[in-house]
């Protein structure tokens, strides 16, 4: 093993950073042994690459079509065929991947901090604050997610931004639950008492000392949720409430292909397959992360 590997796996780390990097490295080693999880990671990275490079590698423009070429079957010129406007489906899929990734990332960035904040605050404060916050969380959990998102989008108006907001509003409760459970076990820890003795206030304790400890389990949960987020966003797009035409959002593409599905099935088949593969990749990645970061939950 190389010197760097030794340094990372050292039993006696000399600095905080070495310890943190060492932990991350052992986690990675556990993760890398899981071949399916690596496949998921590879697919997600590939998707990100396609999303970034789409303007250069897509063979045709995503929103402008050749009407004389409409509804063509898959061929050498159009690998996945063309849609009702004569647009190349493969090019639209490539451009659509960035929409999917953006939606997932935005929902995660919006919902995870809300859940973390609510959960840690409830868990640390206890008493009536805990009771009220958790009751609110339960109310949101009592709604079926897609239907609540539907109602929100109906009020906010259709569009990709509103779809993101609606999905984020419906996604945070499970994170709050997890963060609260973690906080309850951390709250009594010796190091928290030590920080208290040093004179730290509740806000500082929660933000600097409790929240970081809850982050790994929330990240695992968010990754496991990403497939669900993709499916919800696609469902909203399919119902015409998410991204609006001519944006190449995958769910909306399925909706557009629905009218021709009995004869030109590939128009709807290709974007659905893309959604399936990407959700599968996120599920595999999430399962692998859970096994690597949270050995207790693995069966």
């Amino acid at each position: 093993m190389s010197g760097f590997g030794h340094w990372l796996l050292s039993d006696r780390p000399l600095s905080r950073r070495q310890a943190a990097l060492g932990r991350a490295y052992t986690g990675w080693l556990g993760f890398a042994r899981n071949r399916l999880a690596m496949l998921g990671l590879a697919l997600v990275l590939l998707l990100a690459l396609v999303a970034v490079l789409a303007p250069w590698i897509a063979p045709y423009p995503p929103t402008v079509g050749e009407l004389s070429q409409r509804l063509q079957a898959p061929s050498a010129a159009h690998w996945f065929g063309t849609d009702d406007q004569g647009r190349d489906i493969l090019s639209r899929l490539m451009h659509g991947s960035s929409i999917t990734l953006t939606v997932v990332a935005l929902v995660a960035v919006l919902a995870a901090p809300i859940g973390l904040l609510v959960g840690t605050a409830a868990g640390y404060a206890g008493g009536w604050v805990d009771a009220v916050l958790m009751r609110i969380t339960d109310i949101f959990l009592a709604f079926p997610r897609l239907i609540l998102a539907l109602a929100f989008v109906a009020a906010l108006g259709p569009g990709i931004e509103n779809a993101v907001i609606a999905i984020a509003i419906t996604s945070w409760p499970p994170y709050a639950r997890i963060a609260r459970a973690e906080t309850l076990s951390i709250r009594q820890a010796d190091y928290i008492n030590a920080v208290k003795l040093l004179g730290a206030g509740p806000a500082r304790i929660v933000l600097r000392h409790v929240m970081p400890m809850c982050v790994p389990s929330v990240i695992v949960r968010v990754t496991l949720d990403m497939a669900g987020i993709i499916l919800t966003a696609a469902g909203l797009g399919f119902l015409g409430l998410g991204a609006q035409p001519p944006m190449p959002e995958w769910g909306a593409m399925i909706a557009a292909g629905r009218a021709y599905v009995l004869d030109q099935w590939w128009v709807a088949a290709a974007p659905g397959a893309a959604i399936f593969i990407v959700s599968l990749a996120f599920n595999l990645l999430g399962d692998g992360l859970r096994d690597a970061l949270d050995p207790k939950a693995a069966k």
């Binding site: 109310i139 709604f143 897609l146 539907l150 497939a227 629905r258 709807a268 959604i275």
Partner: protein, 359 residues
Amino acid sequence: MVRSVPSWRWGAAAGRSFGRFTLVIAFTYLGLLAVTFFIGRVIPVDPVLAIVGDRAPEHVVQRVREELGLNLPLYEQFGRYVGQALRGDFGTSVLTSNPVWEDVKQTFPATLELATCGILIGAGFGVPLGVWAAVRRGGFVDHAVRVMGLVGYSVPIFWLGLMALVLFYAKLGWVAGPGRIDVAFEFSVQRVSGLMLVDTALYAKDTGDWAAFRSALSHLVLPASLLGYFSLAYISRMTRSFMLNELAQEYIVAARAKGLSETRIIWRHALRNAMVPLVTVISLSYAGLLEGSVLTETVFAWPGLGLYITNSLQNADMNAVLGGTLVVGTVFIALNLLSDLLYRVLDPRTRDTRTGNAR
């Protein structure tokens, strides 16, 4: 030390926990109403504008505002809203011009029929598959259950529905297409329960003509199997993990030592204990099917509550959307409550310990 517990204490304890229970339900339901109220009355910039349009004269706007009670303070509006919702008054649907409650009553049986058939398929196949996977751990069925679970969590239900329609309806012609029944029977079959299978069966009993029943069944089989698959993916995975948990317990070793047959141990001893958490899983996935039905009903043109909500959405019919959302939310809470109660009945450990542990 034996100390008997007076029966009145048991009654008081049960009463207290029941009271707490009711309070939690009431609070959750009030929260549900607050959310829909917020969505319907607070988020839209001006609900009056949404009704009368932007060219209406000032006095019309004023009158509508007063009719809607929008000139009242917000808490008073909310109070009125709660009162209306509890009376089942969700306003009038703009799209159908019926009271929303009537529309819900019309459409809900269709959703109920679909979701019930879905959960019967899902639990009927999912539980045995999960047991099998746990018993033959690492075997073929175990892998199959894992793959089915992964696919079920990853595939968009509306897309799978479309593809299934293409394959089984258009290409193979094995099943009927979208809708609940052929148009030819639509008006000949009397609506009794609203459940098409029941109604057509009653019709067939009277007339001896089973064609309508076959048509209804042929329309139902594809969307119900689709929903069934999604609950199967979840139920089989959970059954597997509960069974693995039970099979590792000592009482299983004891049963084996007593010489009981393996079949009896698995199905009578282990599964019976695994059933306790499974009941929760099954009732939660039943509630999940109500949600899944929104997209499935859209794909299969199934005239249920989900299609009603999405159709209303596309026509910006907020009364109908929120009424439908509230009904689905209520059913969700009710199913959660039911699973909680069943859990208490099935698992003696969750009952009040003060009576059981009189020692």
